[in-house]
Structure formats: structure tokens, C-alpha cells
């Protein structure tokens, strides 16, 4: 198994010296992944429909501070040697697909093949409107088309595409990514639609445990979710073994007594070192290879380093 954590895109840890310090330490102590979230502009008024908190309120600062995801990932590629750099997740409709494909290929080549693209369809309509994307309600179709465009550009000798949102022909797209056929595309999301997308288009499934609409907040629920993924694979003639499995615990794992809303059970990846180690064991047994944790403390570099150190001592070294 491989461990990783998310880096904040705001505050004192999202500064160049801090990023260098944290990632250099993380590489030394054995983390395999670092991830970056995707926001471009945050509107001042948002409908509280954030899928990953029980209240729908997103964990944003009131001032909307955020660094741009792919730019930060490229910077991280420059300052790391071995860690993989994961978009967690890239909101696919946010960016023109030709621009995004080129940006990702650039990061892949410059990093010597260390980028993984977690993909999502997005949830914040106000952000879509501010950026000027295709219509929010078509975000599923847009995501599917953009992913098809990425693959065409990344793999075809003479890329050609005719779609609802973009068309091109008679172009060359070089250099191809270092990773072949292309950087892995991990589909985020916990709904049946997301699983279907993972099976049809993805190289991996990368859900978050904390979606109250489709909770994967106990090991048992994750195992159920995984078996429905495998059923879908059969329907779509996709070998489920081909899919990378990652699990994103984007909450404070050091909480001792968190219970799930749905059934009052211990929330996965909380409740002490032994409990977490057991959860990792169960998921790993089921095929999960990559475990992402919320280790960074956005208000303090020192606390972030300490948090990473604690995780290494209590959990990472056990595996």
C-alpha cells in the first residue's frame, strides 16, 4: 500500500518555502502521493450543496483563497523527485479540454511520468458560471467528452475529434505523455454515475468516504460499494482488476469517537491507531492500494510537519 496526503491551496502552508519544506520531508519519510484540490474562483455566495459535509457547507475560507491546481502541481513536480502528484480531483468541466490535455502532458513529461489525474464532474454551479464553462447541468456529458478528448490527444498519432462541445482535426499533439498510454485517470465520486464513469472511462476509482448521499464511512460500506463497482464492470465488459483503487479520508483521522450519522458505527479511519490500521488492512485485502489522508494543517507549517510525523510513527511504519 501507498500513502499520501493533500496539500492546502491556501494559507501559510500554500507558500513556496513551506511547500518545499513539507514535500521534501514527506518524500524522505516515505509518502508516495501528494494531492491538490481544484478551485479557480470561489463565488461570494454559494448554495450549500457541498457533497462532502453533512450540512452541505463547504470548508472554504470566507475570502476564497485558493491556488490554481495544475500550476501548483507543476511546481511540485519541480521540487520533488519520486512522489506522485495527484489532482484530487480535477473538476473536468473547469478547463478547455485541449488546454487541460496539454497542461497535463507537460506536467507528465517534466515530472518524468509522476502525475495521476483524479477526475470529477463538479458540484458548484456558481463557480462554473463565474469561469464560463459549458452548462452546469451538462457537466456529466461534458466530463465524458473532455475525457475522450484527453485520450485522443494523448494517444493518437493524428488526433481527430468531433463532439458536442469541441471538434478538431488535422492536428499534431506532441510530446505524448511519458506514461503510456497516458497518465492514469482516477474517477472520483461515489454515486452510481461516478462508478459507471470509472468503469467505462477510468483507470481507477477514487471515492471520498464522507459523502452523506452515498456514504462509504465504514469498511463494510466501502466493500459494498466496491462490489457494485465490480458488478458494473461485468456489465460493461471491463476487467475490474485493471482499476486502481484509492480511498480518500479527507477528515481528521485523529478523532477518537466519531460515529457515522447513518448507523452510529465507528467512522472509518478514526478511533485510534489500531482501528485505523485494521481499516487499512480490510480495504487493502479488498484491493485498495492507495490511502490518502488529511494530514496537513492549513494554519501552520509546523503543525503540518508534526502531523505528518505522527502519521508516519503511528501508522505508516506499520506497513
Amino acid at each position: 500500500m501507498i500513502f499520501g496526503f493533500g496539500m492546502p491551496t491556501r494559507g501559510p502552508v500554500a507558500q513556496p518555502d513551506a511547500i518545499k519544506k513539507v514535500l521534501s520531508f514527506a518524500e524522505d519519510v516515505g509518502f508516495g502521493y501528494v494531492s491538490v484540490a481544484d478551485h479557480i474562483v470561489i463565488p461570494s455566495k454559494i448554495d450549500p450543496v457541498y457533497p462532502y459535509s453533512d450540512t452541505g457547507e463547504p470548508p472554504f475560507p470566507a475570502d476564497g483563497e485558493c491556488l490554481e491546481q495544475l500550476t501548483l502541481m507543476s511546481y511540485m513536480a519541480a521540487i520533488t523527485k519520486n512522489m506522485r502528484i495527484l489532482s484530487s480531483v480535477m473538476v473536468v468541466p473547469h478547463r478547455n479540454p485541449i488546454h487541460a490535455a496539454k497542461t497535463i502532458a507537460t506536467i507528465d513529461v517534466l515530472s518524468n511520468g509522476r502525475v495521476t489525474i483524479g477526475c470529477g464532474a463538479g458540484w458548484m454551479e456558481e463557480e462554473f458560471l463565474a469561469i464560463g464553462t459549458e452548462p452546469f447541468k451538462e457537466r456529466g456529458k461534458v466530463t465524458d467528452e473532455y475525457i475522450a478528448i484527453f485520450k485522443e490527444l494523448w494517444t493518437s498519432e493524428n488526433p481527430t475529434f468531433e463532439g458536442k462541445y469541441n471538434s478538431f482535426s488535422d492536428v499534431k499533439f506532441e510530446p505524448k505523455p511519458v506514461q503510456r498510454p497516458h497518465p492514469p485517470l482516477w474517477i472520483g465520486g461515489e454515486s452510481p454515475a461516478a462508478k459507471r464513469r470509472a468503469v467505462r472511462l477510468g483507470d481507477g476509482w477514487f471515492p471520498i468516504g464522507a459523502n452523506p448521499n452515498f456514504p462509504l464511512n465504514t469498511a463494510a460500506k466501502y466493500i459494498d460499494g466496491l462490489s457494485s463497482l465490480k458488478q458494473l464492470s461485468a456489465e460493461y465488459n471491463r476487467d475490474p482488476e485493471e482499476l486502481d483503487l484509492g480511498f480518500w479520508s479527507n477528515w481528521d483521522h485523529e478523532v477518537k469517537d466519531r460515529k457515522t450519522l447513518q448507523d452510529g458505527k465507528r467512522h472509518i479511519m478514526t478511533g485510534g491507531t489500531q482501528a485505523i490500521t485494521d481499516d487499512i488492512g480490510v480495504l487493502s485485502e479488498a484491493g485498495v492500494e492507495i490511502f490518502m489522508f488529511q494530514l496537513a494543517k492549513p494554519t501552520s507549517v509546523e503543525e503540518t510537519l508534526e502531523s505528518i510525523e505522527r502519521f508516519v510513527q503511528s501508522i505508516l511504519t506499520k506497513f
Partner: protein
């Protein structure tokens, strides 16, 4: 005088090691600026006229490799400490403006305030079509509007914009760029329309030498064009003295003296003292920043050329 070198994001600069090596070496050899170019996708058949050759054909067409410019600038920022990073030039219509403003602010923060935004309107309609930009014929208006959008997002307390191409309100934009009020915006292009854009929207002018319609081969050529810029500034009520003046010298820079057909030594070739004298004449004509090309098919040769210029020529100009 400031000195920089252009990087074509292909060939020797295509690998991470190659690009890092070029960037770090440039910093080590005393250059002030590294200046990567901008292409997103290379069409196979290009009918558009390339403005920078006599025959209108783009020499890059057969090469086809390109990395994304802004992504590469962030990568360069991670590998360097002091050298400034100049988009040379960013084709403004290529990228969505709100995203681009965010990318540049991010790069400015990560580089600790080293970004210079060279801006161009573009020339290749086929590339714009493939990307799906606003119409090629409107690229001037698009560029003007996008630059205004950048500045609004970078400087307004409560950014809002309503234009022909872009509309937003009630959004939060943070962090702001490190540089205040924002990274310098250098307008590329040599036409009068470009000069007007400099006066209206730019912090600097950044022409290239080899536009056959407005060739700038000599210090005199530059001085003449600067006179026109001064006039345009007066018309636009803009203080000419506020403007940075850059220049992309596209000719060969070489320690081997070259002679032109009429027997004169070609500028920027020959002994370091001769080259320094050439540069001083450009400086006298009003030049502030000189960008040259040292990139060769081999990395070793590229670095050698850069080292020679950085160690033998630049100190002479600076009187070190």
C-alpha cells in the same frame, strides 16, 4: 540593461532535466530573464501567415512538439530562485481569462514575484480553431478584454466584469499576485495597433526583430519605432517614461563574426567588446531588456552559448 534568453519548449527543453538545466544555468550565468514561448497544439496544415518570416511560413511547423507555457513557467519557478520568468509571449486568446488570471497569480506567488506577462494577440487561426477560442478575426478585441479581466481580478476589491466575451460578478479572487499592482504586462507586436495597446493597457513594449513589415534590425530602427510609440502615448495620455522597453533579438548571436552582404559585421556577432558596443547602442536608443536566442539542437552547445554570453558579454555591457 537586463538580459534574457528565449526557450522554445521543445527539443532540448522538452525533458524535465533539460528544462531545469537550462533554467538553472541561465540563472547561474548571470541572465536576468528566462523567456519561454507559447503553443498549445500544432495544426498540420497552416495557411495563416507567420508574421516573422519573409515567406510567411512558420519554421516551427515541422517540429510540432510544444509544452504548455504557463505550466512550464511554474516548473521553472520551482527550479530557480532569482531569474525572472517572461511569457514570450503568451497568446492571450488561447486560454480562458478567469482561469488564466488565477494561473498567473499562482505562478507569481510560487515564484515569489518573478513573472512578467508578455502578451500577444496570436497569428495562427488554425491553432485557435483547434482550441476553440473566440473567433480569430476578433483576436485584438479579445486580447484587450482578457487583459482588462486579468487586471480586474488582480486588483479590484470585489471583482466584476461585463464585456463582450466575459461576464462575472460576486466572486472572490485570492491570493492576489505578489507583485503590485500585478505582474508587468508587456505587449508584444510591432504594428501601430500593438503600440496603441501598449499605451492603453501595457506596462511595457516587447517587440521582436524579425517582423518583415516592421523590421527592427538596428538601434536606429528601434529608435524610430520608439518615436512612434512616444507619439501614440501622447495621443493616449500615457507617460512614455513609465514603460519598460524590451526587445526580442531573433538574429544569431555568436562569438564568430558574421558579415552581411555589404561587408558589415552583423550586429551581436564577433568579439565580446563589439557585441557589448552593439548592445550599448541599443541601450542608447532606449532599450531596457534584451532577449536573445541561444538554444541549439544539443543541450551541451546550448549551455555553452549561454555561458559564453553570460560570462564574456554581459559583464562588459555592465562595465564589470
Amino acid at each position: 540593461m537586463k538580459f534574457g534568453f528565449q526557450v522554445m519548449l521543445r527539443g532540448v527543453a522538452s525533458s524535465g532535466d533539460g528544462l531545469a538545466s537550462i533554467a538553472r544555468s541561465g540563472e547561474k550565468f548571470g541572465f536576468d530573464i528566462i523567456a519561454p514561448n507559447d503553443h498549445l497544439i500544432v495544426p498540420k496544415g497552416i495557411d495563416s501567415t507567420y508574421p516573422y518570416t519573409d515567406d510567411g511560413i512558420w519554421p516551427g511547423a515541422s517540429v510540432v512538439e510544444c509544452h504548455d507555457q504557463l505550466t512550464s513557467m511554474a516548473f521553472i519557478a520551482g527550479h530557480t530562485d532569482n531569474i525572472r520568468i517572461l511569457a514570450s509571449v503568451m497568446v492571450v486568446p488561447y486560454r480562458e481569462p478567469v482561469l488564466t488570471a488565477k494561473i498567473i497569480a499562482t505562478a507569481d506567488l510560487l515564484s515569489k514575484g518573478r513573472i512578467i506577462l508578455g502578451c500577444g494577440v496570436g497569428w495562427m487561426s488554425e491553432e485557435m480553431e483547434a482550441i476553440g477560442t473566440e473567433p480569430f478575426e476578433e483576436r485584438g478585441k479579445v486580447t484587450d478584454e482578457y487583459i482588462k479581466v486579468f487586471k480586474e481580478l488582480w486588483t479590484a476589491k470585489k471583482p466584476r466584469y461585463e464585456g463582450d466575451y466575459v461576464k462575472f460578478s460576486e466572486i472572490l479572487f485570492k491570493p492576489l499576485p505578489i507583485q503590485k499592482p500585478h505582474p508587468p504586462v508587456w505587449i508584444g507586436g510591432e504594428s501601430k495597433a500593438a503600440l496603441r495597446r501598449v499605451a492603453r493597457l501595457g506596462d511595457g513594449w516587447f517587440p521582436a526583430a524579425n517582423n518583415p513589415k516592421f523590421t527592427i534590425s538596428t538601434p536606429n530602427d528601434l529608435a524610430t519605432r520608439l518615436d512612434l510609440l512616444k507619439t501614440v502615448c501622447e495621443e493616449e495620455d500615457r507617460n512614455f517614461d513609465e514603460l519598460d522597453i524590451g526587445f526580442f533579438f531573433t538574429g544569431g548571436v555568436s562569438s564568430k563574426e558574421r558579415r552581411s552582404a555589404d561587408g558589415d559585421r552583423q550586429l551581436l556577432t564577433g568579439q565580446p567588446s563589439d557585441i557589448a558596443a552593439d548592445i550599448n547602442k541599443f541601450n542608447d536608443a532606449g532599450l531596457g531588456t534584451l532577449i536573445c536566442i541561444f538554444q541549439r539542437p544539443e543541450l551541451g552547445e546550448t549551455l555553452e552559448q549561454m555561458e559564453w554570453f553570460g560570462k564574456e558579454v554581459i559583464p562588459l555591457v555592465r562595465g564589470i
